[in-house]
Symmetry: D2
Subunit: 351 residues, 4 copies
């Protein structure tokens, strides 16, 4: 089969690989739709170290092709979504409620990290009964594929932010995850959602997904403006959706005492991420810093699919580009270089 891989640090391309085989608890899925993620670029840039011919991608849906002997809930032909994170559900970390950390820090992240990813005609799913979910008839593949990572990670930012009904929320950066954190904040009942962004298309999308106010960091002081919008108090919840030292500091500063900084961003640089001491209340202001990695699993996927089924959120507004699988190189470049105001590029596999 054809697979789109990281050949070495900085280099991508197609290679031919055998169709994977399932172990007793596994499934093999024939890919129908996939999305490219900025973290695919991090990987290719060496973010997780050198890899040779590692298949890229972690956001995909498809049709079950084969199942192992112990798989009970699925059979070939089922249309399924697979979370970007595919935990070992029996591991102590998962039993503790932290499935994404199964087998070590971020250990649930296997696709395009510790095993081949989903940018291939077929891909392998570990613990298939636990990590796949059937897609309802009313939800098309190109919509369902947003459950894998974008909805799951973005909503997590809101969920871990401990938003009260009527609470105030700032979402810092309105990339695809930030946009879904904005939608997530609305889903949790925030009374005021402030999006921080400068790109026009993303500002507009932020409004569509629930932002009541937009603060443009290129023309305004974000901390000052958020305090102004909240009567000088700061927000109940600040969601950091970029993963940079500077925006993290902003998040701490705009959060009120007793509030929560909820991080969804991947921090890729530097020895430290720095907390501004005084605005953190010298360590005593009841400001909580929460973090996490995209929740996976059948139950999570089923719940996200339900959000699509009942039309609470339409993530396909973020699909700015569509490519065939054979156009992966071009698609990857658009995503990697953020060409043409791209938000999310959708990949369509041949039927």
């Amino acid at each position: 089969m054809k697979a789109f891989v990281m050949k070495e640090i900085g280099k991508v391309g197609f290679v031919e690989k055998p169709v994977p085989q399932p172990g007793p608890n596994d499934a093999i899925v024939r890919t129908t739709r996939a999305l490219i993620c900025t973290s695919d670029s991090h990987t290719v840039d060496g973010g997780i170290g050198p890899r040779e011919d590692l298949t890229l991608g972690h956001e995909a849906v498809g049709v079950v092709h084969a199942t192992g002997s112990e798989v009970k809930a699925f059979k070939p032909g089922d249309r399924v979504v697979v979370g970007a994170i595919t935990p070992d559900w029996g591991s102590p970390a998962a039993q503790d409620g932290y499935s994404s950390q199964s087998g070590g820090p971020l250990g649930g992240w296997k696709f395009s990290n510790t095993k081949d990813g989903v940018f291939a005609e077929y891909f392998h799913v570990n613990d298939a009964d636990a990590n796949m979910a059937r897609i309802p008839d009313t939800v098309p593949d190109e919509m369902a594929v947003y459950c894998c990572d974008m909805l799951s990670t973005g909503f997590m930012g809101a969920e871990k932010g401990n938003i009260p009904i009527g609470g105030t929320v700032a979402v810092i950066a309105q990339g695809p995850v930030g946009l879904m954190s904005t939608a997530g904040a609305k889903l949790r009942g925030a009374g005021l959602i402030i999006g921080v962004e400068s790109v026009p298309r993303r500002k507009e999308l932020a409004r569509s997904y629930g932002a009541d106010e937009i603060v443009d960091f290129t023309t305004e002081d974000v901390v000052e403006r958020v305090l102004e919008l909240t009567g000088g108090e700061g927000v109940d919840t600040a969601i950091e959706a970029l993963g940079a030292d500077a925006t993290f500091q902003t998040a701490v500063k705009v959060t009120k005492p007793g509030g929560t900084v909820s991080n969804t961003g991947y921090f890729g640089e530097g020895e430290f991420v720095r907390i501004p001491r005084v605005e953190w209340g010298v360590g005593m202001a009841d400001k909580t810093i929460a973090t996490g990695l995209c929740p996976g699993g059948r139950l999570r996927m089923e719940r996200l699919l339900r959000i699509l089924e009942t039309k609470r959120v339409d993530p396909t507004l973020m699909t700015t580009h569509t490519f065939g699988f054979d156009e992966m190189e071009q698609a990857f470049e658009v995503s990697d270089k953020k060409l043409d105001e791209v938000v999310k590029p959708l990949i369509v596999f041949a039927a």
Copy 2:
């Protein structure tokens, strides 16, 4: 001043009373808008025992008329909403997070219970800095008045129900509190909301506030239908918004293992409320039963007002009737006897 009172059990009418005076921490509010609640009928029927010339009502907004010497956050002329429940915030129960229980079970409920209520030209607010909130200019009085009880109690049903994003919820009974629980379930991100109701006007309102499915208990078996709509599993959260033994049993039965029954209803009858033993998992199915009484306080009111300001919910759809304060007797009868498919009757006070 004119006050609309319970003269004795079963009898209401107007009496003349002096305008109340504030103690050091109190305020006096001149009433502008009020709502009648079915619990006013319970009170008149003797639900809390005999009372003589007790002013009725606990849902009202108005303008600050006078403040005590220790009141700092408000001054005469401020347009304010006052929660139906006005706790003693320094009490141990409030310090424990249960302000509605300050001073004993349901002790935060003072209006028309342990002191005069709000159906009068002026009413008294204890601990005014803590129990009032300023109404934003963009929110009219006839909308803000829904914060006192309807939004606060209804949303509480959703909040205590521990609804996950994408979770399934059944809201049993779609009276005004149930309708606001439906809206609250939507605000918390439920993926499927099932309203149980038979009255056409209420069914329609339930749809408007977020119900995806309506189950009519006069034509369908509620337990069977809810299980069917949830693939045989039951809901994550069942909100009991009536307060009857039969609907409580239904709530337990439609809740899945690990789910929550969240009660907002006032149980007015019988020695016992009965849990169906087997469907409760013989006490071992991780089904939690949560209860509470309308949260009050400045912060709660501010958050609910924000929900109105950013137009997340429009409670005025429930205002089916409007009366002047001098028409209180007629208004009370409409509410008491549920005439004319009434949902909420609004009372307008002379300027």
Copy 3:
């Protein structure tokens, strides 16, 4: 191999069975120590319906005899404890945090329910990596065996009771689970623990495990006495450790507004379990009713073993009787008829 079984309702005895074989994810354990539980008697009495030659027992430790091809964390010769509840960790219920409900209400309870139990020379463990834990050298088998159910269920009562440091707790009934709830309440930092019990040996044990006060229901009014001991307020947490309508009502009555009734008991009788309406605050006193089924799993077992390793609790004080496996019939009778002030009978298997 020899197995001690329920032959039919009301009848127990030995039968010969083949040593079980492991599937890919399973293990077979050679039994070394076991404990008899009162729920074994419920089973024999028909509590879960008719069964034929079902091996009894769910509390046992032993040595790994064989493992399936996919088992990675254990190997033959490992000394292990296996939780009484052995969930399917990949199931949606487990992913939701309710592993004991995997596969349906109480579905994690497999031993001596949906498959053979542990009163045999060898027993089968599903999902072995997830459901077994290695026993530290310093913890003897006859101590470790208390982790399976007694510590796990008893402590759960305290954990779900939401006990604050310095809070007040009543533990109703001081059988083995109640005693471990008493120990659990102490482990959570309760400031006052009230044990309700009448049997002298159990009263003494309750004191040993942390009860500050004992209320004897045969000579005192429990509700009155608990209110007296808490200045008229009631307790923060009442743990129901019997599973009877009457004690459940007591639990609701002695709990203060805002407090929690936490149930560990199996309710075996009647169509309903009844909540006393008025003392429940007519459904509005913020009294939560929490329930659950013994948590299982490797992580849980490891944490309980640590409690034994660092000598926080010594459950072997409850071992009032010891029998060889060949004396099971006599042992079962002692447990079933509660002869000789039995608390827990330990079963020793031949080396």
Copy 4:
């Protein structure tokens, strides 16, 4: 009356002041016992800016001398403890569950900050009904005085650390707050408590309060040793009880994915507190950073007093020195310069 004050930055001494008068909600307490805190030294060193003749001290007990007109729960002659933090309980922050942040960041901290402290013959208590607690007869003043700050702050470190029964905990630094975090970890049911300390007297005290292992940072690598003691995993909870950038980093490093860093320390220096990026799981390892300021209030004090009444913890082991109030200058020097292996110096006021 005599008051021991900060005359200016760097200078302390006695001055004569009038006995304070109560407002309607206040009380005046005649001091009987007090404790000196290292934060008194921070204050004198200029930590909260310049002050002139500010009475020092925030840990004291005494006898009610006078009460305001609205005070209902206390009367002159009552023996009381007053929390170091005396919140405005009606403030929005307190209504939100963050009473220590009432009126702004750390706003509940009034003694020796925004008003005179307790090192005087009499001191003033705002919102007296809410901020004082009666001391039981069986608890002597010199024990009760530990509730004000040491027990409340130390235990908070454990409570916010989200410790599971049988969990693993590291407490970094065993000063008086760290020692009470150690005791608090034991009270929450930790299965393994690791104390980090080098001073012999404090190591011994740590053992007395529940530390199972002591790591001496002067002779061992703390991160390495804690990982070793936890099988390479890290702890469920790391309590930072010093307030320094270096120990904070250690806390993040020794915490396992899914674990909590709970801070009790006051961070007095530097523009930033730095999170080690990689060990924090690049912002995705579900490591939560929780902070807070000593909880105050009547309920908190009552619960802490109960812990003393039932002898769960004996804080007087930390009283290494005793002085009369007239010896305050000497006492302050001992505390300030950490002379003579001081842990806590007790101040006795003339009867």
